[in-house]
Structure formats: C-alpha cells, structure tokens
Symmetry: C3
Subunit: 214 residues, 3 copies
C-alpha cells in the first residue's frame, strides 16, 4: 500500500510538473509572438492576436485535424491566462526581455519538446497511427510559428532556417520507441524532451541547416 | 392571451429583423471583399472567392473551433445567395458603389455588431464560457477581413489601423452583462449593437488608434 | 449470376482504377508543390511541407468544413506514401522532371478532375446540397494550391491567371446532371473528368482567362 500511495503521489506530482511546463511554454511562446510582431508595426491588438496564435495555433490545428473540438484551450482557461500573461509581460517589460534571452530560449525549447510529446500522445489516444501522431506532435510544436509568420507576411522561418522541426520529429520517434518498451508513463517523456532540447542546442551551436534544394 | 400572441408576434418580427440584418451584413461584407481584391489585380474568380471569404470566413472559423460542423452556411442557402448578390453588385455596379460609401459603412458597422453578438450567443449555447464566447464573437466579426488580407498578401488591416475589434469586445461585454440581468431576449442585442456602432463611429471620427508597441 | 459477377468485377476494377488515379494525382500534386517551393529558397523541410499541403490541403479543408474528422489521409496511409514518394522524386530526380512536363500536366489535370468529383460525391454522401457539393469539389481540387501560394508569400495563382477552377465547376455541374439521370455509378465520373480535362486543355491552348475587374 505505501508503495502504491507513493507511486500515486509521484504520478500526481509528475503530472503537475508536465502541466506547469506546458503553461510556461505557452507563456514563453506568447512573448516570442508579440516580440516578432513588434518589428512589423502592428498595433497592440494585432500584437496580442499574434502572441495568442503563436502560443496556441499549433495545438488548435492539431485538434481541428484530429476532430477534437471544441479545441483544447476553450475548455481550460489556464492556457488563456498563460497567453494573456505572456502578452502583458511582452508589452510592459520589453526592455528587460532582452536580458532574459537565454532563459527564454531554454523554456522555448522545453516547450517545443513538450508540445511535441503531448500532441503526439493526444493523437495516439484518439486511436490514430504512430506516423500520424508524429506529424501531429510536430504540428503542435511548430505550426503556431507558421501562422505567426503568415500573418506578418513573411515566408515561415521554419521553412527557411530553423531546423527544430527535425528535432521534434527525432524526439517524437524516441518517445514512440520508449513508450513501446517502457512501463513507466513519464520517463519516456523526459528522455524524449531531452533529445529535442539537445538536438536543437547542438543545431544552433553548430549552425546546422537542412539543404536548400537546387 | 392577446398579450402572449402579441409577444410571440413581437419575437417573430424581431427574429426576422435580426435575420435580415445578418443577411444584409453578409451582402455588404461580400461587396467590400470584392472591392479590396480589385485593387490587387485578381481575376473574377479570385475576386468572388475573396468576397465569399470576407463575408463568411469569420463565422466559418468560429464554427470550426467550437466544433459546429458542417459550418453554418452549408445548411442555409440564404447566406450563399447574399454573398452571390454582393459579388454581382460589386462587379456590375462598381461605379455606383462609391456613392453608397456612407450607406455601406453603416451596414458594415451594423453587420460587425450583429455578427459579434450572434457568434457570442452561438458559442454560449454550445456551453462554452463567456470569455470564449466573447473571443468567438469577435472572431465572427473580424476574421473574414483577416483571411481576405492574407489572401491578397498584406498584413491584416485590423492588426495595424482599425480598432473595430475593440468595439466588438466592448459591445460583447455589454451584451453579456445585459443578458445576465435582463429577461427580454432582444433588447440586449440592440443595445450592444448600438454600443459597437457608436464606439466605431467615434473611433473613426476622432481617429482613435491603439498604441503601436515600441 | 454470371452477369452479376461480371458487374461486380467491373465495379471493383473501376473502383481500383479511380483509387489509383487519386493516388497518382496526389503524387503529381506533391511534386508540383515541391517544385514551386524550390524557387522560393525554402529548405528541404519547408519544401516537404509545401509538397504535402499542395497535395492534401484541398481535401483537408473540405473534410474540416463538412465535419468529416479525423481528416481523410489520417486513416489511410496510402495518401501519405503518395506524398512522400512525390517529395522524394522531386528532390532526387528534379533534372529529369523538366522532361516529364507533358506527362505531369496530364496527370495534374486528371487529378484535378478526379479530386473535384470525389470531393463532390463525399459531400453529397454526408447529406449536403448539390451547390455545397459543387463548392467542396472545387475546394478539394484547388485549395491545396492556394495554401501553397500563401505559404510562399504570393497571391494565389488561381486568383490571377489559371482558370482551372472554372473547369472544375463545369465538370462538377456535368457530373451532378449525369448522376441524376444515369444508373451507372462510374461513367458519369469519367465523362465529367473528361470535361474538366478538355476545358483546361482548351483554356491553356487558347490562353483563355477570366476578366480582371476594373
């Protein structure tokens, strides 16, 4: 019994931790959306919408495609609060944000990793195949940035320079394998997020990029 | 009995009136979509599609997000007829439209107000929270214009200059309050539409704009 | 009995043929998406996504709008395989593709015709009206190209020069009429695809275009 109780407590606290990371990732994504928009001369409303879309656009497209509506953030206000906080912080503390660049990059990368795994898991739960789950995990992580770029009228960054989609795919593959062979529900998540973070850090440090056809 | 009958007649005629405004708003939105597209050298097909998207894009996104599919205009041909009429009028009477500017602005603003309230109400009916309903009401009113702008390859106007999204939000808040405290189904609608119209008129007259961050 | 058996065999083989055309059309669309993207300096990931969206974006939007989720390609891996093959061919055989231009144009046009009819039929099956089915058929055929163009930051080609949407609409109308009056399930499909192909060929040869308003 004590073991069971301890396992339950462990599971609960891990679940809380994942949820907290999810919300912090959403918050950081919203900040980065607002900052991108600021360079494009949009007003406060436009900046807020772009922050919102950057943070929640990926999960929204995933939910639409897999038929999970109303989409997730409609039935859980925490995500809206995380976005609202991110937008306000971006507006009122923007001269400090430059100094947070390193911290933000870390949470951004953790967020990308977690969004990938959570999106993948949600798709598997609905009964879709692992390959579709891998795609939907990646969509969850990167599509918000794609819509942000379309709205500010530029070719999506992730189609040109960033390679983090590849890091998401790699982390997703690792997760699928570990999930298959492991009994624990949580450590596959941490291992695969670590894969995403590590790959992305190395990619940025070594300036890796995918080939540009022709 | 006579009172009940009269109330029923009143309700019916008010419902008809709201429905008529909804269709006229759709018609005016379609005209404005076509006119925007004309400046971008698209052909008649492109102009029609852009007219259609401007008029029905907001309600379409709302219906997708809240999971109300098939989307509304698929099961009610009146909306398609309103769009078709708007497109044809824009094509064949365009030298007269300049003279209608004032009338069109009025119906455009009434349309925005009504779209906000109807979208908000539909979202509440599905059982979602007032804050989500407020967002979906605003999406119903403004998102058609956002897609129009993305399709003609410019940063959405509403992210840069127009402040009518704020008017929609304010009208929506008024509606939520009145709906809570009033027993009548209809006068909260008229009051909150009036709020939207008034705020937008004042904003245009006084050249109000939101701050542009940085 | 022999007649019934023969009819069944005929139906099966025709169904297989249509399915094969559907997959080849998807494959060719993916190639054309990748080739378009190559001119815009996107990397291999971006090119793959654009190939995917060009091939499956139209059917995806149709499925979202009519409420048929999870969208079609999520429960049938053949479409993903067709896209993947198209992307790989575009990457590794691109100096040969120029020589295939004529063949690709033929399959592209057949694909457009078939996507129109299959999209139309799927919409009718769900119980929506013929006019909505006509629109959804056209969306299935042309919307992938619209998203492709939005992603590479240009006004959609089909809004400016191409008239193949008109060929889709005409083919769809022919299909609706034949379907109403014919007992056979398949020859209306072939006749209406032939209408689409013929109209598009004539349009290209004679350089037809729609009027540009103003």
């Amino acid at each position: 019994m004590p073991t069971n109780t301890r396992t339950l407590e462990y599971a609960l606290s891990v679940k809380d931790l994942l949820y907290a990371i999810d919300l912090v990732g959403t918050f950081v994504f919203a900040i980065s959306g607002v900052i991108t928009s600021i360079k494009r001369k949009v007003d406060a409303f436009g900046a807020s919408v772009i922050g919102f879309v950057t943070a929640l656009g990926g999960g929204t497209l995933r939910d639409l495609l897999i038929g999970s509506t109303p989409v997730g953030w409609m039935t859980n206000n925490h995500y809206l609060i995380a976005v609202g906080a991110g937008v306000l912080v971006a507006f009122f503390m923007r001269n400090k944000i430059a100094g947070w660049r390193r911290t933000m990059f870390i949470f951004d990368t953790i967020g990308i990793g977690l969004f990938t795994i959570l999106g993948l898991e949600k798709t598997l739960q609905i009964g879709l195949s692992p390959i579709i789950a891998l795609m939907m995990g990646t969509v969850s992580a990167v599509f918000g940035g794609v819509v942000r770029d379309v709205l500010v009228n530029r070719i999506p960054l992730i189609f040109r320079k960033e390679i983090y989609a590849m890091a998401c795919v790699a982390g997703g593959v690792v997760y699928l394998l570990l999930r298959h062979f492991s009994e624990d529900e949580y450590w596959p998540i941490f291992v695969s997020i670590t894969v995403v973070i590590t790959l992305r850090r190395i990619a940025v440090m070594r300036n890796w990029s995918l080939p540009v056809p022709r």
